[in-house]
């Protein structure tokens, strides 16, 4: 009879994901148990208010909290239990390790999740392949890489339909893979976050928190930590430059696509055309943002985050920078004999960027958005715990 009870308990625990934790997840659960008994950091971000709704931390809770964490570092510098304290609490690091693991575990198809583990190599190979592809294509189509009779006309080198034929499948693959990955994540964390559906107020709040990067403001508006215990808005601003720069570049391409198919207006577009305006502003913003992020990343307190993910972070930033820089260089050098090379480099970089989107740092934005959305839903539900109410 007792054996049966034990079995039932074990089955229930399994269903709740209480056992079968990886070492990184166990570490988060251990630290959350300490944090939940302290709670001094409640004002910094969404992680700690979400934590206080729980007494135990199962697999799904841990995945949810890890992706809710923005790695701002505030709780580490404020922590009375941070190393060298024997409790060795370092929430940003523990969360980052689980986060890295969730990107790989939720990747679609699962086999490609392994690409995360050697992300620096993945990016390098993708970039090399992308560059080689376009340089060889240019050579084959133009006869040479320097000069030729292009007169600033991209389409004379790579016919529009060829580019569409190359980029559309890669882009659609990236969208599909990311979508499938985040869908699996969503399905896992939804039951752990009340299971309630998303309604407009929650969606609006999450959108606001994503677009403004609320949780890099430190909870007090002076920003998060980077090199030390001082607060800085630099990380938030550099992210904004990068994110909105990327969106503007993406918008430039989208508008150009509409121009091409709806109006028959063919590239290249010159100033002050809309695609060019969007592209130049976005490109400069992306260039500045990624350069700033790269510098901040190198100055980062080594205790923050997961050192193993540094190549992924820096690789992604560098690839975005190369994409922006080569795009701007292409615009400035369009009338020169370097056109073929510049165009090949830019297209190679863009190809590598899109091909690796679902298996690299880009995923952090997608998974964190999903976590913020679930948090916005969960916080609107009544808390079932009545702790310390006296």
């Amino acid at each position: 009879m007792q054996a049966l009870e034990a079995l039932t308990r074990e089955a229930r625990a399994l269903a709740q994901g209480a056992i079968g934790l990886t070492p990184a997840e166990t570490e988060v659960a251990r630290q959350m148990q300490i944090c939940n008994a302290c709670r001094y950091c409640e004002g910094f971000c969404a992680v700690f208010p979400a934590m206080t709704r729980r007494l135990e931390f199962g697999k799904a809770d841990i995945h949810f909290l890890a992706n809710l964490c923005h790695n701002c570092g505030a709780c580490l510098h404020a922590c009375q239990y941070a190393p060298p304290h024997e409790f060795a609490v370092n929430v940003p690091q523990a969360m980052a390790q689980v986060r890295g693991q969730t990107y790989a575990d939720f990747a679609w198809p699962m086999a490609l999740g392994r690409l995360y583990q050697r992300n620096g190599l993945t990016l390098s190979v993708a970039l090399a392949v992308g560059l080689a592809l376009f340089l060889m294509l240019a050579l084959a189509l133009n006869g040479r890489l320097w000069g030729g009779h292009l007169h600033g006309n991209f389409n004379a080198l790579f016919p529009h339909n060829l580019l569409v034929g190359l980029f559309a499948p890669v882009f659609l693959w990236a969208v599909l893979a990311l979508g499938m990955g985040v869908r699996r994540f969503w399905r896992e964390v939804t039951p752990a976050t009340t299971g309630q559906p998303v309604r407009a107020p929650a969606a609006a709040e999450a959108t606001h928190d994503v677009l403004r990067l609320k949780y890099l403001d430190g909870g007090h508006g002076e920003g998060c930590n980077n090199a030390d215990d001082a607060f800085t808005l630099a990380r938030r601003r550099a992210h904004h430059l990068t994110f909105y720069g990327f969106l503007l570049c993406f918008a430039a391409t989208s508008v150009a696509t509409v121009y091409h198919y709806a109006f028959g207006w063919n590239a290249p577009y010159e100033l002050p055309s809309l695609p060019k305006l969007l592209g130049v502003v976005g490109g400069i913003s992306l260039l500045l943002g990624t350069a700033w992020l790269f510098r901040l990343n190198l100055q980062r307190d080594p205790q923050h985050g997961d050192a193993a993910q540094k190549p992924m972070d820096l690789g992604f930033i560098a690839l975005l920078f190369l994409t922006a820089a080569s795009g701007l260089a292409l615009w400035l050098g369009r009338g020169t004999p370097a056109l073929a090379i510049l165009l090949s480099v830019h297209l190679g970089a863009v190809m590598a960027l899109f091909a690796t989107l679902p298996y690299g740092k880009f995923a952090h934005g997608i998974f964190r958005t999903a976590a913020l959305l679930r948090h916005a839903v969960e916080k609107r539900q009544p808390n079932t715990l009545a702790l310390g109410a006296d």
């Binding site: 001094y40 007090h220 702790l387």
Partner: protein, 476 residues
């Protein structure tokens, strides 16, 4: 700054916690050059301030994170009540009034406040919480101090000072003599000094040395070296009783030092507490958290082995702040007794008597409800419900000492006194003088109010004393 080549800084601050930092910042703002000596290495800086979380504040109308009002008189009455009159009304009121106005200054030095933490709503009216807790506050003060040009030295414990005719001359740290025109002592109590605690608490009627079983909730660096030096070697005027301290019941598995807030056990009122002999010894349902929190450390210290066991059943789960270590869990009371190492028969007798005596009315953990025991000694006067629903949980308790109240007697200028006369250039702040206001007992956030008020006074007075000396020197 030139003080390293000349006769040292204007103001030497000894200590590195809240009071010391407040003194250093105020002295620097008054135009003095300041050197701060922190005994701990940088990663352990800040003393017990790193474990604090709020400041008890007087306010007559709602203020940013503080709701309603907490007027001077009510604050004073609260202090009077918890100290049982062992306080100095003049100094207490000075602290209370200072708490009403110090927060803008704190903000200017980078401290952020936030509404009360979950589980601490009962102090929403009286206490302003530091965002991120005391270590965030300490970090902010150090950043501000360094920005203003305060020199900070870590791993610089001062073991003695030179005093001539009541005047501070120099301090000795790591064998180096450091001169200054004025000095602020803010180096904490002696709670980390286990030998001194042993000596102060002595031996009890069972032949035990109770203090040997105390855990220290805060820093390991408050050895009281300077406090003893001032009291014994310089005959500074003293205040307070060495056995008086802020003491709470904490998880017996807590580390010897720096367990901080998270080791508290908050389910006392939801169950029963028994001693090593499996007997109850006090009314677990006497009062709400603040009072309960403040008395159970001493209650456990009086029990054999300085050990207690808080026992609850499944009904209590989710009703108290989660403990840092999981409780001992059992599916039956006999099993729980065995796991806790208690005499099974005695434990079952205690629990049986208690369960039979419970008169359950309408359970309400947010009020002094009508669930009580009848014919039981000691009674449980509120929240008494039978412990009968598996699983059962037990938490072993030990006394956890936060800070000691023995200190240096002072006045409204924060001056150290010798034979009733105030020193012209030696001042004291923080735990080293908190006993002037807190003779015994405690109420949340008042330690930081005292440290902030007297730290600021001491810094200002020290700068004034130092700069006056400079003027005298120049005109001589």
């Amino acid at each position: 700054m030139s003080f390293q080549t000349s006769n040292g800084p204007d103001v030497l601050v000894i200590g590195g916690g809240n009071a010391a930092l407040c003194a250093a910042l105020m002295a620097r703002e008054s135009g003095a050059t300041v050197l701060l000596l922190e005994a701990a290495p940088r990663e352990w800086r800040g003393g017990n301030s790193g474990h604090t979380r709020n400041l008890r504040c007087m306010h007559d109308t709602p203020q940013d994170v503080l709701v309603d009002a907490y007027p001077e008189e009510e604050y004073w009455q609260d202090l009077l009540k918890v100290t049982g009159g062992l306080t100095d009304e003049h100094l207490a009121r000075l602290v209370i009034r200072a708490s009403a106005t110090c927060r803008d200054w704190m903000r200017a030095h980078g401290v952020h406040f936030q509404p009360p933490l979950s589980g601490a709503l009962h102090v929403a009216r009286t206490n302003a919480f530091f965002m991120g807790g005391g270590k965030a506050l300490v970090n902010a003060y150090y950043r501000s101090a360094e920005r203003l040009g305060v020199q900070v030295r870590y791993q610089a414990p001062v073991d003695r000072i030179e005093i001539e005719g009541g005047r501070f001359k120099a301090a000795w740290a790591n064998g180096e003599r450091i001169q200054a025109r004025a000095c602020v002592l803010a180096a904490g109590g002696f709670e980390s000094n286990r030998d001194w605690l042993r000596e102060a608490w002595g031996r009890n009627e069972r032949g035990e040395w109770p203090a040997d079983n105390f855990l220290i909730r805060g820093t390991r660096f408050n050895q009281g070296v300077l406090l003893r030096h001032l009291l014994d070697d310089h005959g500074a005027d003293r205040i307070g009783d060495p056995t008086q301290a802020h003491m709470v019941a904490i998880d017996a598995r807590a580390p010897l030092y720096d367990g901080g807030i998270c080791t508290r056990i908050d389910c006392v009122s939801l169950g029963v507490v028994v001693n090593r002999e499996a007997r109850r010894f006090y009314d677990e349902g006497e009062d709400f958290w603040p009072k309960r929190y403040a008395i159970w450390g001493r209650l456990v210290a009086q029990q054999p082995g300085q050990i207690g066991f808080s026992v609850i059943d499944a009904k209590a789960v989710g009703r108290f702040m989660p403990p840092v270590f999981p409780g001992v869990k059992a599916d039956s009371l006999p099993e729980l007794a065995r796991q806790l190492g208690l005499d099974e028969a005695a434990f079952l007798q205690t629990l049986g008597d208690y369960n039979a005596a419970c008169r359950v009315g309408t359970f309400d953990h947010t009020a002094l409800d009508d669930c009580h025991t009848e014919g039981l000694s000691p009674a449980k006067t509120h929240w008494a419900r039978p412990i009968d629903t598996a699983p059962f949980y037990g938490y072993e308790l030990k006394p956890g000492i936060t800070f000691t109240y023995l200190g240096l007697k002072t006045d409204e200028t924060a001056a150290v006194r010798f034979g009733g006369a105030p020193s012209a250039n030696l001042f004291v702040a923080g735990e080293m003088m908190a006993g002037n206001v807190l003779g015994k007992g405690y109420t949340a956030g008042v330690g930081m109010s005292i440290g902030t008020a007297f730290g600021r006074i001491a810094g200002t007075q020290a700068a004034r004393a130092a700069l006056m000396q400079e003027v005298l020197h120049a005109s001589a």
